[in-house]
């Protein structure tokens, strides 16, 4: 039975050592240079970059250290174990769903179950207030991140087109684009072509040729379920093993419940729970890299006499301004088989509607991804989001092979009422469950309407019959936004908290705005830049 499939691994990992208990920790009572909470997309990169810089670094991860060969399966239900399943309280006019379409649990975090779609943000994404008069500008520009985008793409050998038509970087990518493209990607591109919309193959963190002992993709389609062949990048298989080789320690199956603060008002380490026992890890620097829900939750739960409103929260903005992407799935039925289950899920896209256009009646924009799917994912959105059940659901699903899908990745503007707070319900660790409030704004809804209409036009232009729209979301960003003004943001441009100099926050939570594209590459680029900054601080011997 799926949930009983026990993952028996070691809990303590460092070079040459694997222990199934915490009795042999590398640092134990000693102080490490850096403790990273959450070994996912950002945490994995930071672990690697800081170990590479020669620092004593410990990563603490709530979930297991997966072995893809024995823990992953080519099965959707089984793959639930890769998601963060802990109950979160979700409310607002548009309550968010959690799990498969956002946060992961275990080393690698969400990168174990993302589709591998790897976009850079556009230049305009970083100055939304200046150009569109809404939201806030980031304290960094595209140019600040560009070298890190380059670095990450080269480190993991992103496969992409020779020419990508949008944004400041037009390719070529380190590895050639994947070919052939799937039937869904084909009909998407043909539909775009018929309408005069530019389309492209998608840049992917999925290999088109061998690299680093890893094979190219075999198009089995199970990116969201954990890549068994290791053709898809994740920090689990890419950064973390290399970090361990460089001396990093990874402690798994351990939930950090509190960040400790010393008398001087600096953070001094973390407290974590492992199998019901509580442990501590002291560190000169603490980095919280635990997703847009768990990061503010931990900061708020670490309130202490010096910081009664939670850590890094003098602005009162910890947990505020969270942003999903509007992720509506637009389905059409074709007369011929599409077979959405085959091939990497996303192999073609358009960003022709990414930038603001005054004629449309809303600001900012979106990406449209041709999107593959497997039966359970389609049945779930068809039933829960589109409202079909009984005979209708069965009829749709019997025709599974005839459906095509385009997914919207729409920018959602930040709003202070969209937030993560602590509820009065407790979890198994005694921590308050996070309560997440989300409601779309008027601009968001106008953008969604436009994106859904465009997706339907593309499907129709290739003889698809629009069938139904599932109002889904994807990703989650914000909650500890970066900015130059300590009263309007939580961290500075290097992800260092304004309030506590040796406390850093990194990952999805620091996004000032959401952009209109899948965010993973930007998360990694920000983490690499933060890693550089911390390594530099450490070389100078101070975090002031």
């Amino acid at each position: 039975m799926e949930y009983k499939t026990s993952v028996k691994h070691n809990y303590d990992h460092y070079k040459g050592h694997r222990y199934d208990n915490l009795d042999h920790r590398k640092y134990g009572d000693k102080e490490a240079d850096v403790c990273i909470i959450g070994v996912g997309a950002a945490g994995g990169v930071l672990l690697y970059e800081l170990a590479n810089a020669g620092l004593d670094v410990v990563g603490i991860e709530a979930g297991p250290f997966w072995d893809p060969q024995t823990d992953f399966a080519s099965d959707e239900l089984h793959a639930y174990s890769l998601n963060w399943q802990d109950t979160r309280l979700s409310t607002g006019n548009d309550p968010l769903k959690f799990g498969p379409n956002n946060s992961g649990r275990g080393v690698g975090g969400g990168t174990t179950h993302f589709t591998g779609v790897f976009y850079r943000f556009h230049e305009s994404d970083f100055r939304v207030k200046s150009t569109d008069g809404v939201a806030e500008d980031w304290p960094i520009s595209y140019q600040d991140l560009a070298p890190y985008y380059d670095k990450i793409e080269n480190d993991i050998k992103v496969s992409g087109p020779k020419h990508f038509p949008w944004g400041a970087f037009n390719g070529p990518y380190p590895y050639p684009e994947r070919e052939p493209i799937s039937a869904m990607a084909q009909v998407f591109r043909e539909g775009c072509e018929n309408l005069g919309i530019r389309s492209s193959t998608t840049p992917l963190a999925i290999l088109s040729a061998p690299f680093d002992g890893r094979p190219p993709c075999t198009n089995r389609g199970f990116c969201n379920e954990g890549c068994l062949p290791n053709a898809k990048f994740s920090t689990l298989i890419q950064h973390v093993p290399k970090a361990i080789d460089k001396g990093a320690e990874v402690i798994t199956d351990s939930m950090v419940t509190r960040i400790m603060v010393d008398k001087s008002g600096k953070v001094s380490g973390v407290e974590f729970s492992h199998k019901g026992e509580y442990y501590q890890q002291k560190a000169k620097i603490v980095i919280v890299a635990a997703f847009a829900v768990e990061t503010p939750r931990l900061l708020l739960n670490s309130a202490c006499p010096q910081f009664p409103d939670g850590l890094a929260n003098s602005s009162g903005l910890v947990g505020k301004y969270i942003m999903p992407h509007s992720g509506h799935d637009v389905y059409a039925k074709f007369d011929e088989e599409i077979r959405l289950y085959k091939g990497t899920p996303v192999m073609a896209c358009t960003q022709d509607f990414y930038e603001s256009d005054a004629k449309r009646g809303f600001v900012r924009g979106y990406t449209l991804n041709a999107h593959g799917n497997r039966p359970l994912a389609m049945a779930k959105v068809t039933a829960l989001d589109a409202g079909y059940w009984g005979k209708d659901l069965r009829e749709i699903m019997l025709n599974f092979n005839f459906y095509g899908m385009i997914t919207l990745v729409g920018e959602v503007l930040p709003h202070i009422e969209n937030k993560v707070i602590l509820s009065d319900q407790k979890d198994e660790y005694g921590m308050p469950r996070p309560e997440i409030h989300f409601t779309y704004g008027e601009n968001d809804n106008n953008l969604i309407e436009h994106g859904v209409e465009k997706a339907n036009q593309i499907l129709k232009a290739r003889k698809g019959k629009p069938a139904f729209v599932a109002a889904d979301t994807g990703h989650l960003l914000g909650g500890c936004r970066m900015g130059d003004d300590p009263e309007k943001s939580v961290v500075n441009s290097f992800c260092q908290s304004h309030d506590i100099p040796n406390l850093f926050i990194c990952g999805a939570s620091v996004f000032t705005t959401s952009g209109g594209a899948n965010p993973t590459e930007t998360i990694l680029a920000i983490a690499a830049r933060t890693g550089d900054y911390i390594a530099d601080i450490a070389r100078k011997g101070s975090v002031e």
Binding site: T87, K342, A383, L398
Partner: protein, 213 residues
């Protein structure tokens, strides 16, 4: 009830020797046998089974043995449910109390328990729950109707659309590691994939008729 398939000759399990051991083990366990239920008790299983059958419009007990087992295990494990509304009960309570509420609703409307009313009436109750418009009973003060319906639906769909027989009927190629898929372009299929028959050749795989559905 009649179920059809466009792929009467296809059985995804014919490829099982091409699957990795973990995947094969995970999928084969869905064919049973199943251990005794741990969470569901008394008439809960029967009520849940009937509701699950309606939600996905199928009647085959071998498939619903797996669906029930899946739901029972999930409710028993308490591993977390991703999200719920702040004022909603946890899913184990939502389902347990919800099944009682559905019976109470049936008594109020039909003076019979849910299992003893007609299929049409059972469908009507589910339809009302979906839009939160079921007749007023005290239970609804603590069991939100729509959330109950959504929970029953997502649990059922998760189990049902993970069953290899259902995959075969859809023509879904299934697990593909280490083999992978190679002919992924429009109109192409790998030799082991499902071949669609014309609409006129639909094979009736279950001829059990039901009244009024």
């Amino acid at each position: 009830m009649v179920q059809n398939t466009y792929y009467p000759d296809f059985d995804v399990l014919n490829s099982i020797k091409e699957w990795d051991p973990t995947t094969a083990d995970v999928v084969l366990k869905r064919l049973g046998p199943f251990p005794p239920l741990k969470f569901l008790r008394g008439e809960e299983e029967m009520r849940l089974r009937v509701i699950a059958k309606h939600l996905v419009y199928d009647t085959r007990d071998d498939i619903f043995n797996w669906v029930i087992h899946f739901i029972d295990n999930r409710l028993n494990e308490g591993i977390g449910e991703y999200q719920r509304e702040p004022d909603a009960p946890s899913e184990d309570i939502l389902v347990r109390e919800g099944l009682i509420a559905i019976d109470n609703l049936s008594y109020k409307i039909h003076q019979k328990d849910f299992l003893n009313i007609g299929i049409k009436d059972q469908f009507k109750i589910l339809s009302d729950l979906q839009v939160g418009k079921a007749a007023s009973i005290p239970d609804w003060s603590k069991i939100p109707q729509k959330q109950l319906f959504d929970k029953l639906l997502i649990l059922t769909v998760s189990g049902y659309y993970s069953h290899p027989t259902v995959w075969s009927e859809m023509g879904y190629g299934g697990p593909a590691y280490p083999r992978g898929y190679y002919r992924i372009e429009f109109g192409l299929t790998d030799p082991w994939e499902a071949v669609r028959r014309n609409e006129g050749d639909k094979k009736k795989i279950d001829k059990e008729d039901s009244d009024g559905v």
